[in-house]
């Protein structure tokens, strides 16, 4: 046990103190902040400058209604839009457009909205500006134009209204998730949580499986494994290593978990500021999901890490790794690629069978749990099958590892591998 602990400690400390670890652990959340939060913050920050626009109304009579729809105020109290001039049915559309464009180029105007003659028949209005990417203005303008057109159409049919926008506002359909214990309103959290958990499991298994494999190869290529083998049982060496790499993973997730929840809190507050009501705060993880995900993770991490370690023991150089790791990585990838099957119908026969296959179970059964709680016996059966497979694979991997770490040169064929299993 002491020797497992020593191997564990070395593996953990050298990894956690490496530049690579610090870079990915600190760098990734930072990267997340940069690509997620910064544009959000910039985009939602209202400008403090009034947009000067003109209206070119070729239909005639629509401009006042549009202007009425553009009466927002900036945080500093100034109006959001200033209507510089309204051109009602100019004698020459071409000439008016020309003049307005000149004003935009000269900088005395930020843009002009052109209403076509046949707008009531469905032709779109056009906003001419130097900055067509400002989606807040786009949204405000189309809202104002839509309402003005609807109001105009209704007036034509003899309906007089004060507040059109109130009348034409849609309501939408909300999804309600029915569970054993009750109902909860669905705002995409089932989908997001499911996908997030599955992606995380997949990435973790690959990243830390491969890290274990590399660590084995490093000890082989530096030849230190010969000294280690003269001091520690190979199985203890393997155990310490797998656990050490796992602890590095946990450390990384701890850092990410804390910074991630801070980030989501920030994101949620930003999102609710932008569109009240669409809160992301309902993105909570059910405790049962976390427990099951943890259980499946432990079992499948041992499964994959031991397979990766055995692969590492089979080769003598980093270059060979790429080829030998493919079958195992592929197996993981398949479980990730077929998740839409589960997404579509988590309790179909196919889904049940797929989630029983031990190599797929960590990703697929956990996804099913996230989407729609399967019967307990299915979870238990899947976990038992996984645990038994893991136990078997661990025996085989440990034997391959034990022989492989001392073998250099040609990679073993399958027949040779089978013989390795019988060596003492």
């Amino acid at each position: 046990m002491r020797k497992i602990w020593l191997v564990f400690k070395r593996e953990y400390l050298t990894r956690v103190r490496s530049k690579g670890f610090i870079l990915t652990t600190v760098g990734l959340p930072l990267f997340g902040v940069v690509i997620f939060a910064v544009p959000l913050a910039l985009a939602t920050r209202k400008t403090d400058h009034t947009l000067r626009i003109s209206l070119l109304d070729n239909l005639g009579g629509l401009a006042p209604q549009i202007a009425a729809g553009l009466e927002g105020k900036l945080p500093n109290g100034k109006p959001q839009y200033e209507i510089v001039r309204v051109w009602d049915r100019p004698s020459s559309e071409e000439q008016a457009r020309q003049q307005l464009n000149d004003q935009i180029r000269a900088g005395s105007l930020d843009g002009f909205l052109e209403v076509p003659k046949d707008i009531l028949d469905g032709k779109a209005a056009a906003f001419h500006t130097r900055n067509p990417g400002d989606f807040q203005t786009t949204a405000a303008l189309s809202h104002a134009v839509d309402n003005a057109v609807v109001e105009h159409r209704l007036t034509d049919r003899g309906v007089h209204l004060d507040n059109v926008s109130k009348l034409v506002r849609g309501v939408g359909v909300s999804m309600v998730k029915v569970t054993k214990t009750g109902e909860s309103e669905e705002k995409g959290q089932t989908f997001i949580v499911g996908l997030a958990v599955v992606t995380l499991l997949y990435i973790t298994l690959v990243v830390y499986g491969v890290a274990t494999m590399r660590s084995v190869v490093e000890e082989k290529t530096t030849r230190i494994v010969e000294i280690l083998a003269s001091s520690v049982k190979p199985f203890h060496l393997l155990s310490g290593k797998i656990l050490g790499v796992a602890a590095v993973g946990f450390t990384q997730y701890l850092v990410w978990g804390v910074s991630g929840s801070l980030l989501t809190a920030y994101g949620a507050s930003m999102a609710s500021a932008m569109a009240p009501g669409a809160s992301m705060a309902s993105l909570h993880l059910p405790a049962s999901l976390l427990v099951y995900a943890g259980l499946f993770f432990v079992v499948s991490y041992l499964l994959y890490a031991s397979m990766y370690a055995a692969l590492g023991a089979m080769v003598s150089s980093d270059e060979e790794l790429q080829q030998v790791q493919l079958p195992v990585t592929l197996m993981l990838m398949v479980s990730f690629i077929i998740y839409p099957v589960i997404m579509r119908d988590p309790s179909s026969g196919t889904s049940v069978i797929l989630s029983m296959i031990p190599f797929f179970a960590p990703v697929l059964m956990v996804l099913r749990i996230a989407l729609q709680m399967p019967p307990f016996w299915q979870i238990a059966l899947s976990l038992v099958i996984s645990a038994l497979t893991t136990f078997g694979i661990l025996q085989v991997s440990a034997r391959i590892y034990r022989v492989g770490i001392l073998m250099y040169g040609k990679r073993p064929s399958l027949v040779e591998l089978l013989r390795w299993l019988r060596y003492t």
């Binding site: 290529t221 030849r223 010969e226 000294i227 083998a229 001091s231 520690v232 001392l406």
Partner: protein
């Protein structure tokens, strides 16, 4: 109690018999040479003594205990293929390896410090292994083998890559450890090192012991059948196929293996007849190098 007792050990890998019915008896406090051509089964034998591999047949005892987890801590090992964790600090690697051999970390740290000091590496203690020269890495690795004061030390080609100063440093430490009671197994292809340091040897070929025992007794058994001559003048006087079986020329020195029954006086006469000036004319036991070659080629014949 013997330091190592290997009894009728056989080890197979698939169809290849790596070690076949090998028996070794190594006295405590001896320097024992394990010799043999490449691929003879030396490394496999050493690995079995260290319990890295288990024998298929036969038994191995190390210092009175069957080879196993507990005997591993009694052995220090310098493998032929050197290597340490390239990206770890010298001190950290050595403390880790010493702790694996059962030392407490505090004890390991203070001993690492002493050893680095002694081998002139103190200034490199906090450097990465990668930053060390080959020779320095070699010395660091030697520390890893001896730091836990093992009663049994296994050294595989301990001097390769070392300059004469460092080689002497290592040799002196080896002899000092033997003085203190350690047993040393030396595996090497350098026969002059074996002649200089070993008390007993075992020569393995094709996994079998072909020659074993006390080094002096072995050489004695071959008798004084070799002439070691130093001279200046005509080379041709040694062209005596009836008397000389084999000639080895090493620059200034010539070793002539005599045919059985050949009289050295005849060669002396020939030298005088050729007008050669002799500065050395000595009848000696055959060098280990020749015994090695003879034994190994006998096997191949």
């Amino acid at each position: 109690m013997e330091a190592v007792a290997v009894e009728h050990v056989t080890k197979r890998f698939d169809t290849v018999v790596a070690v076949s019915d090998l028996s070794l008896h190594i006295e405590q406090g001896a320097v024992f040479g394990l010799l043999g051509p490449n691929g003879a089964g030396k490394t496999t034998s050493l690995r079995m003594i260290m319990h890295i591999l288990a024998p298929d047949e036969g038994s191995i005892q190390v210092l009175g205990q069957p080879a196993g987890d507990r005997t591993q801590d009694l052995i220090g090992y310098l493998p032929e293929e050197r290597g340490l964790y390239a990206r770890m600090k010298v001190r950290e690697v050595l403390v880790f390896l010493a702790a694996l051999k059962g030392l407490s970390e505090a004890e390991a740290t203070s001993r690492v410090h002493e050893w680095l000091e002694r081998l002139g590496l103190a200034a490199w203690s906090e450097k990465k292994i990668n930053d060390l020269s080959k020779g320095m890495q070699q010395k660091a690795q030697f520390i890893a083998a001896v730091i836990h004061r093992p009663p049994l030390l296994i050294l595989d080609e301990p001097f390769t890559g070392l300059d004469p100063v460092n080689a002497t440093l290592i040799k002196d430490i080896m002899l000092e450890l033997r003085e203190k009671g350690s047993t040393i197994i030396l595996s090497t292809h350098r026969m002059e090192q074996v002649e200089m340091m070993c008390d007993a040897i075992c020569l393995i070929n094709h996994g079998r012991s072909v020659l074993a025992g006390d080094l002096r007794a072995i050489k004695k058994s071959y008798g004084k059948n070799t002439l070691r001559i130093e001279y200046t003048g005509d080379d041709n006087f040694l062209d005596l196929p009836d008397l000389v079986e084999k000639l080895n020329r090493f620059g200034a020195v010539v070793e002539a293996k005599l045919r059985p029954g050949a009289d050295p006086q005849e060669i002396l006469k020939a030298a005088v007849a050729h007008g050669v000036r002799l500065t050395r004319f000595e009848l000696v036991e055959p060098p280990l190098n020749d015994i090695f070659i003879e034994k190994v080629s006998e096997e191949h014949a």
